[in-house]
């Protein structure tokens, strides 16, 4: 029996096509994935992301524990509400999950992890709590469950503040990757200027019991419901990794384009996976591909290069660019700008290697000489 979010009834009312996603019954689209994609690039769309799992971390050792647990360093978070993207690594340097951690105080953080990996992550975290004075509370279920709604697009912040005027003064002054706990409806919503689309917007974490009313208010403010299908093509265009597809335990962050998230500046910090990363051979690099012929790139297609074979990790049709794009792991040494071949069924089609970032803020990034 798949799990349902607090917005399940709202999805059905909006004629969503529901699919199973990591054990959750979620909307894949509400009619046209491409229309939903364009709504986020050009105006404002919203996603139910309540299947993702928020974990609250409280205790005097919260900071030291996270500095041990995460490959990125929470010590760089000094302003309350600031968010950090990080990998959770195993001892071999493989990626257990990617997550966002929000800093409130040195003894209070919130972590948001992926839906399908939440149980695995929590089990891993609990085995590493020993010796640290810190408490980890799962907030997807339990006595006070939370829901999450992502409102994304160039008009998203304005529409959100129109729907919830009481949040406007606090929400509109948020810097990117910054969150604030905002009193509203006799509770506190966490409003974060984050997202997974390459557009501006907010991710709202609120009591599950208030989720449906919030969804309806956003709908009334002209925010279009968008499914997981559009979420996938948006994040692909934005060059954002999807856990389980672009990386998993078998690869290190260095082979998944996530070197920038591994913070080695404090030489004294011993995070899990650090020593393995120092010696692990990096034979593959993470790049973008642009299909130069007609067709659609898909995950697991083989890529043939002068330096050896590689594989597509995520691929689809880009509604913004009107051609097929992909993220791929190719041998180190394949240069950006070079031409490779992709095996699609019985054919070999030409593709160009580009930086793994195709669209930001509604605009194609392919015209710039650095990516072509």
């Amino acid at each position: 029996m798949p799990q349902r979010t607090p917005l399940y009834a709202a999805h059905l009312a909006a004629h969503a096509r529901m699919v199973d996603f990591a054990g959750w019954e979620m909307p894949i689209n509400y009619g046209s994935q491409i229309e939903e994609h364009h709504a986020v690039r050009q105006d404002a769309g919203m996603f139910d992301v309540s299947h993702m799992c928020a974990l609250d971390l409280v205790g005097p050792d919260a900071t030291s524990w996270l500095r041990r647990l995460l490959a990125n360093d929470v010590a760089r978070l000094t302003q309350s509400g600031k968010a950090l993207y990080s990998c959770l690594l195993d001892e071999a340097g493989g990626v257990i999950d990617d997550l966002i951690v929000y800093f409130f105080t040195a003894t209070h953080y919130r972590i948001v992890v992926n839906a399908g990996t939440a149980h695995k992550d929590i089990a891993w975290m609990r085995t590493h709590l020993a010796g640290f004075d810190v408490e980890l509370n799962e907030r997807r279920d339990g006595a006070h469950p939370l829901a999450m709604i992502a409102v994304q697009g160039p008009a998203a912040r304005e529409r959100f503040c129109t729907a919830f005027p009481a949040t406007r003064s606090a929400a509109m002054q948020l810097a990117p990757f910054q969150a604030v706990e905002c009193p509203i409806n006799a509770s506190a919503w966490m409003i974060a200027r984050t997202g997974y689309t390459g557009e501006d917007g907010f991710e709202i974490t609120l009591p599950a019991a208030q989720a449906e009313a919030a969804w309806q208010a956003l709908l009334a403010a002209g925010v279009k419901p968008c499914g997981l299908g559009a979420r996938d093509t948006l994040r692909l265009e934005a060059g954002m990794n999807l856990y389980g597809q672009d990386m998993d335990e078998t690869v290190s962050p260095y082979e998944a384009g996530l070197r920038w998230t591994v913070d080695l500046r404090d030489a004294a910090r011993e995070f899990i996976g650090k020593s393995a990363l120092a010696t692990r051979r990096v034979e593959q690099q993470f790049v973008g591909l642009l299909l130069l012929e007609r067709g659609v790139l898909r995950a697991h297609q083989k890529v043939l290069t002068a330096q050896g074979a590689g594989e597509i990790t995520s691929g689809s049709f880009s509604p913004t660019l009107n051609q097929s794009i992909a993220l791929a792991r190719l041998p180190v040494g394949v240069a950006i700008g070079s031409e490779v071949e992709v095996e699609i069924r019985d054919k070999r089609l030409k593709a160009r290697v580009v930086k793994p970032l195709f669209v930001r803020h509604g605009k194609s990034l392919l015209a710039s000489p650095s990516s072509l």
Binding site: R17, S32, I34, G295, R298, F317, P319
Partner: protein, 124 residues
Amino acid sequence: MSTPSNLKYTASHEWIKQEADGTLTIGITDHAQEALGDIVFLELPGVGRSVKVGEACAVVESVKAASDIYAPVSGEIIEANQAAADAPENINADAWANWLFRIKPANPAELDALLDADAYAATL
């Protein structure tokens, strides 16, 4: 949307129209286009190719996934719909009007195995 009674069907969601000259025109059903979502690419069989019943002979790709289209009967491909390949989104707009390819059947007896509209509707 209703299932046209003048067409035949397969359980794999192809529709088949029997033309006056005995050839067959093949497309995908409205149910299939809806399940696939926005269609962005078609790979159609070459004219002259001979296909066996149940053989994968075309591919419909939506933003979501690639789906094989199967030959409903054995025969020879006599035409592929280039207009549909140029504007695959038209299949989402009207799956009944935008065919994929045409077959000259090799063994008319195979037509007996196709579903009528009621039998197809019962599979949905």
